[in-house]
């Protein structure tokens, strides 16, 4: 038992998994994380997952895009080579809107994807970090840190009571490297 790092309760039904979370929490057993093949409504609130900070990254990349787009236009259209187009001022702000907007959206979208990949370690050539491969297919997994919660027999019985079809004692965190 002593080498066990994580205990994984594997459920075939999302309702039973949600029930399992309730039972574990009622017994003060802290849950490391849950893995499901599809989004489960209400699970973030139940687990106390903090809201994603991705929007902050999105805002920063968007603001960078606004500055980049506007600077490009200002340099080319108003500073380096001002041109008289249709008698308009050489700094025609309404015309700058579409391109500034497009560059904002472009950098915002690319930046969000890059941030997401960086945060989730999804680099080319990197093996994905998965704690239970069937969580990507048809199983709903509750992962419990075995060192933080010592009463493994209680965890085992609670998971099975809730309807877990399988309880695993993993000595490695990620199985996908094997």
């Amino acid at each position: 038992m002593s080498n066990t790092k994580y205990i994984l309760g594997s459920f075939a039904d999302p309702d039973e998994m949600m029930h399992g979370i309730d039972k574990l929490q009622a017994n003060n057993i802290s849950i490391y994380d849950c893995f499901t093949p599809m989004p489960i409504h209400g699970i973030e609130a139940k687990l106390g997952v903090r809201p994603s900070r991705l929007p902050i990254a999105a805002f920063c990349f968007g603001a960078l895009g606004t500055c980049a787009g506007f600077s490009l236009l200002y340099y080319t259209m108003a500073y380096d080579w001002p041109m008289n187009i249709g008698g308009k001022p050489s700094l025609p702000l309404p015309n700058f809107v579409p391109i500034t907007f497009e560059v904002t959206i472009l950098l915002c979208a690319l930046g969000m994807v890059a941030t997401f990949f960086y945060r989730n370690h999804l680099f080319p050539g990197r093996a994905p970090r998965v704690m239970d491969l069937r969580a990507t297919d048809d199983r709903f997994i509750i992962a419990i840190d075995a060192r933080e919660n010592s009463d493994h027999a209680l965890i085992d019985s609670l998971l099975k009571e809730a309807g877990a079809v399988d309880v695993k004692y993993n000595e490695r965190k990620y199985v996908s490297y094997e």
């Binding site: 039904d13 999302p14 309702d15 949600m18 029930h19 599809m38 989004p39 489960i40 409504h41 209400g42 973030e44 609130a45 809201p51 187009i85 249709g86 008698g87 308009k88 025609p92 309404p94 015309n95 809107v97 579409p98």
Partner: protein, 411 residues
């Protein structure tokens, strides 16, 4: 999603009781409106009569657009098989089912305005298309194949008639679903909605060209139809949200929570940006290319009597929702959403005002008893008809196939 084990104890047969303050306020508003409109129409001054017609067109069009947005909401969410909105569907359905009344009213206003020469006199007047007449207008004569009285009226009847029939049947199918259960009503509404969206999508631009853009018949913009659609959709969403918050505050619709409100807020936010996008696309191209036949439209709106209102329009309908609705928490609170929605409804009144007034009363613009009275009258009529319709059926389509998913909606 999969969490079906939660047992709810909502009363899905609950019905709204339309009585008390809501009923009195709507009736008083109707009486006030009728008085103001009668005062305007019976005036001995021609310009006051014309101003009243312009206001009737503004509010008649606004009223029809908001009800049509109800029908569009229903059809769109059926075709996309959206689940989140199942619990609030009765509100757009009530708006959709009074679209026939709104359409008849607008048809009467447009018809009377046309025949009394108080509206559309720009293209409907003696000798405009007769080459031998001193009034001959080559541009109007060139548009005569499309822009003529029988064609105009037939299009109005066909467009609004078809929207009304679709809207009425869509609402009726859902009311029938309450009694019969099963998937028959849903399957029928799916087909009907798909057809409706195609018809609506292709004809609303032409409908707005006829009803509003032809007030200044020399000028044209292909963006105008989508610009009007954006205004229609945002104001419709705001009306749905206001009714929802009103019902929640009165203790109804307990199954609707901040997640549903959040989704409405996101739609209002997104389509306010879309409205700006279309408004700006129309404006920027005309401003940059600087062709006199196109700039005349904005030239009129940059005269001193319209210019402040022209810019206020952008502040209310773009800057305000952009700043106020960006934050997640704002979209999840009833009071902030109520405030933004009332602001946007006022904003789109101003939007239509800027579209209609320079082409009708031109420099004799006003804001007084006639404007406030007409707006109040139509507000009262809309409130009375929609709330009355809501009180006739249960507040939720209890046999809707996605209702359970809507109850567990979480974002």
């Amino acid at each position: 999603m999969g969490t079906h084990s939660h047992h709810h104890d909502y009363n899905f047969n609950e019905q709204y009781t339309f009585a008390g303050t809501a009923k009195i306020v709507s009736l008083v508003a109707i009486v006030f409106g009728i008085a103001a409109i009668a005062f305007g129409l019976l005036s001995s001054e021609h310009i006051v009569v014309e101003r009243t017609y312009a206001n009737l067109l503004l509010m008649g069009y606004y009223f029809t657009c908001v009800c049509a947005a109800g029908a569009f909401f229903v059809a769109l969410h059926i075709v996309t098989q959206s689940a989140w909105c199942a619990g609030i569907m009765r509100i757009p359905q009530a708006m959709a089912s009074i679209l026939p009344i709104a359409s008849v009213l607008l048809l009467v206003i447009v018809g009377l305005g046309l025949y009394t020469h108080n509206l559309y006199h720009h293209w409907h007047a003696e000798g405009l298309t007769d080459p031998n007449s001193p009034n001959y207008d080559a541009l109007i004569a060139g548009k005569e194949t499309f822009l003529n009285v029988p064609g105009f009226l037939i299009r109005q009847i066909i467009f609004m008639g078809s929207y009304s029939i679709f809207a009425f049947i869509l609402a009726k199918l859902s009311y029938k679903e309450d009694l019969d259960g099963g998937l028959n009503s849903y399957k029928k509404s799916f087909k009907l909605s798909a057809i409706f969206l195609v018809v609506f999508g292709f004809t609303t631009p032409i409908w707005s060209f006829d009803t509003v853009m032809s007030l200044e018949a020399h000028w044209f913009s292909t963006m105008f139809g989508w610009y009007n659609f954006a205004a229609l959709w945002v104001s419709g969403l705001c009306a749905i949200t206001i009714i929802l918050v009103f019902l929640k505050k009165a203790g109804y619709m307990v199954w609707v929570n901040e997640n549903h409100l959040h989704d409405l807020g996101k739609l209002i936010f997104g389509f306010s940006i879309f409205w700006t996008y279309v408004w700006f696309a129309q404006f920027m191209l005309i401003w940059y290319s600087n062709i006199p036949e196109e700039t005349v439209y904005f030239y009129k709106r940059w005269e001193p009597e319209y210019k402040p209102w022209f810019w206020l329009n952008i502040i209310i309908n773009f800057v305000a929702p952009l700043l106020l609705l960006m934050d997640r928490d704002v979209k999840r609170k009833q009071n902030t959403m109520l405030f933004v929605c009332i602001l946007l409804l006022a904003g789109h009144w101003l939007d239509y005002y800027i579209m209609i007034m320079p082409g009708t009363v031109e420099t004799h613009r006003g804001f007084g008893l006639i404007e406030i009275g007409t707006a109040a009258g139509f507000f009262g009529l809309f409130t009375f008809l929609v709330m009355n319709k809501l009180s006739k059926h249960a507040l939720v389509p209890k046999n809707h196939p996605f209702l359970d998913e809507s109850l567990h909606h979480q974002i």
